[in-house]
Symmetry: C2
Subunit: 383 residues, 2 copies
Amino acid sequence: MREVAVLGIGQTPVSEHWEKSLRELAGDAALAALEDAGQERADALYVGNMMSGSANHQQHLGSYIADWIGLRGIEALRLESACSSGAAAFRAGYIAVASGEVEIALVVGVEKMSDSPGSEITSALATAADADWEVDQGVSFVALNAMLMRRYMYEYGWKREDFMPFSLNAHANAVHNPNARLGKAISEKAYLQAPMVAEPVSIMDASPMGDGAAAIVLGSRRCLAANRKAVIVAGSAAATDSLAVHDRRDGTWLQAAELSAQRAYELAAVGPQDVDLFELHDAFTIMAALSLEAAGFAERGQGPRLALEGEITLKGRIPVATRGGLKARGHPVGATGMYQLVEVVEQLRGEAGATQVDGARVGMAQNIGGSGSNIVTHILQVG
Amino acid sequence: MREVAVLGIGQTPVSEHWEKSLRELAGDAALAALEDAGQERADALYVGNMMSGSANHQQHLGSYIADWIGLRGIEALRLESACSSGAAAFRAGYIAVASGEVEIALVVGVEKMSDSPGSEITSALATAADADWEVDQGVSFVALNAMLMRRYMYEYGWKREDFMPFSLNAHANAVHNPNARLGKAISEKAYLQAPMVAEPVSIMDASPMGDGAAAIVLGSRRCLAANRKAVIVAGSAAATDSLAVHDRRDGTWLQAAELSAQRAYELAAVGPQDVDLFELHDAFTIMAALSLEAAGFAERGQGPRLALEGEITLKGRIPVATRGGLKARGHPVGATGMYQLVEVVEQLRGEAGATQVDGARVGMAQNIGGSGSNIVTHILQVG
C-alpha cells in the first residue's frame, strides 16, 4: 500500500438546485476538483450516492458522470452504504490508488433530493433502515433517531436543551461557508422553540436535506500540483453494526464508530488527543454526541458535556462541524461524506477562512450510514 | 498487488423464491461460499446489487447481509453499475485483497425481482439507461436492445434466425445446471415462433429475470483449503462507454467490452486463443454476438457466424453460456456477474458435470451494465 495524497477538491453549494440536473451537479464538483488538482483526467471514477434510483430515476452513475465530464471509457462505478456512501466511495478510491491499481482516482459524492416529493424522499431514506424489522413496523428514519435520543436522555440524565450547543455551533460556523445550505446563525430561543419533527428531535436537531456534490482527486504525492500543500490519507477504515437498532446490545453506543475510529487511529499512528478538528455526522444532534463518545473525545454518555463546555467550537479542544456540519451546511445524503472530507482538506490546507482552525495538521471525518450501522472514518494529515 | 485466489463459491438456484427474503437468499449463497472455502469468516463484504431499493424497499445491503450471516462489525458495502454490479463487486473485493488491505473478502451478488410488479421492474431496469435522453423519450431497456439488433442486422446482413444458436446453446447447457432458471432445451421451432417482446427481440432472444444470489470468497493462495484446486484471478478490468446508445460513434460495437477485455488479456498475459470458455453477457442474443466480437473471438459483424458454425458449443472453439448463460440460467440483474464468475470457477475446478469443458484452464467472464455502457471483464486461471 503506497501513500495517497489529496490532489484536488471541488464542491457545489448545498441548495435546491432546480436549475441543474444530477449530472450537472456532479460534473461541476468533479471538474472543479480536477482543475484544483491541475489534472486533465482521472483513471477511475468512484461515485457515492444513496438515492438517485428513486429520487432521479437514474442509477448507473459511474458511466453517467464519467461520460458527462469527458472521461468516457474510464472505469467508473457507484458505491452505496446509505448516508455513508460518500466516504465509502472515498475509501474505494483510496484503496485503488494505494494498491497501485489506479494512478489518479476521482471520487464524487452527489445527491439531488429536491426534485422528488417529500413522501418519496422519506421512503427513500427509510431504505437505509431495516425494511422488515423497522420500516414495515411504521418507523421512519427520524423516529429511529428520536427513540435513540430519548433513550440516551433517560440513561444519562440529559435534557433536550443540553443538545443545543451542537446546533448553535454548526450554524455559527456555516455563516462563513459560502457552500452551506443554511448559512445563518440561530439563537437559543430559536432552538428552544423549534417545532418537533419526532419528539425530542426538533427541526433544530435535524439536518436539512439538499442537492449537492463534492469531489476529491487522489493520487501519489509526486502528482501534487506545484505549491499545493500535501494532505495525506493517513487512516481509512469502515465497520458495521446491525441494521436494526433494536438488535444492538446498547443502542446508545456507536460500535461501528468505535471500531472504525480505532482502526483509523492505529493506521495513522495518532489518538484523539492529536486530532485538530473532527467533521462528525450530525444528521441529528444525538448522532453528534454519540460520535464524539465512540471516537474517544468524550466519556460514554458525556458527549453533550463537551458541547456545553464550549469544547466543540473553533477554539475548543475538538472543533466539530467547522464548515456548518450536516446541520447547517446541509445533508445531501450520498454526498455528505465527501463534503466532510473536502472540508477537512480545506482546514488542513489553511483555506477555511473565518472558520479556520489555527495550525490544523490532523483532521478526522466520520460518515454514518443508517442509524449507526455503517460507519466510515478517515484521518487526513498535512504530509 | 499480490496474487488473489478463489477460496470458495456458493450459489442459490435462480428462480422465483417466494419463500425467501432478500437477506436469506444472499445469506444462503454467502454461507455456502464460506463453507466451500473452509473459512468461518471474512474481513470485508462486497455486495453487487442493482435494484433492491425499488424492488425490495431496502438499500444498505452491506450492513444488512453482514449482520445476517453473523459477521456484524466487518466492513461491508454495496457496489452498483446496473447489470454489471456483480462483477463490479468482485473487482472491488479483488482489489482489496490484492492490495493487502483485506485478507479474506466475501463477494455476494444478489437480486430479488419477483416480489415487485412487472411495471416496477421495467422502471427499475430503465434506471440503467439515460433517464433524460433515453427513458424520458419512452425507450425501455428491451427497446434499446431491439434497436441495436435491428441496426446490426441492417449493417451486416444477418436475419433474426441467425441469432438462434445463441439461444439453443444456452438452453441445451442449462439442462445440466441444477441452478438454472429455465433448465430445459428449446427447439428451432420454439425459437422461430417465439412471441416478440420488441421486434426483432423475441422472448427467446431475451433473458428471464429471477431471484438469486451467488458468492465467492477471495484470499491469498495460502488460505486455500486442502485439496481445493487453485483458481487465480489473472486479469481484472472495467471500462465505460456513453450511457445513451445514440451518443456512440458506432452503436454496434461494444467499446467498453474491447477496452476491458484488452486490459484483462494484458494482465493475464493471454489472448483470445488461450481462453477455454467465455461466460458472456447474453441478456439479449445481440449482446452475445457483440461481446464475442469486442473480446476478439470473432471479426466485427461476424459474431453470429461463430454461433452458426457451432463454435460456441461445449466442443467448439470458444464455448459460451456453458451453464445456461443469462438466457437460460437466468438474469437476476445485480447477481448475474457473480453467477458468471462462479460458473467459470466450476469449469476451472472441473466441477461442471455434463457441461464440463475438457481440460479448461483459462476462463473468462464479461458482465455488461446498461446497453454496453459499463463492462467488467475477468480472466481466471488454474494456478
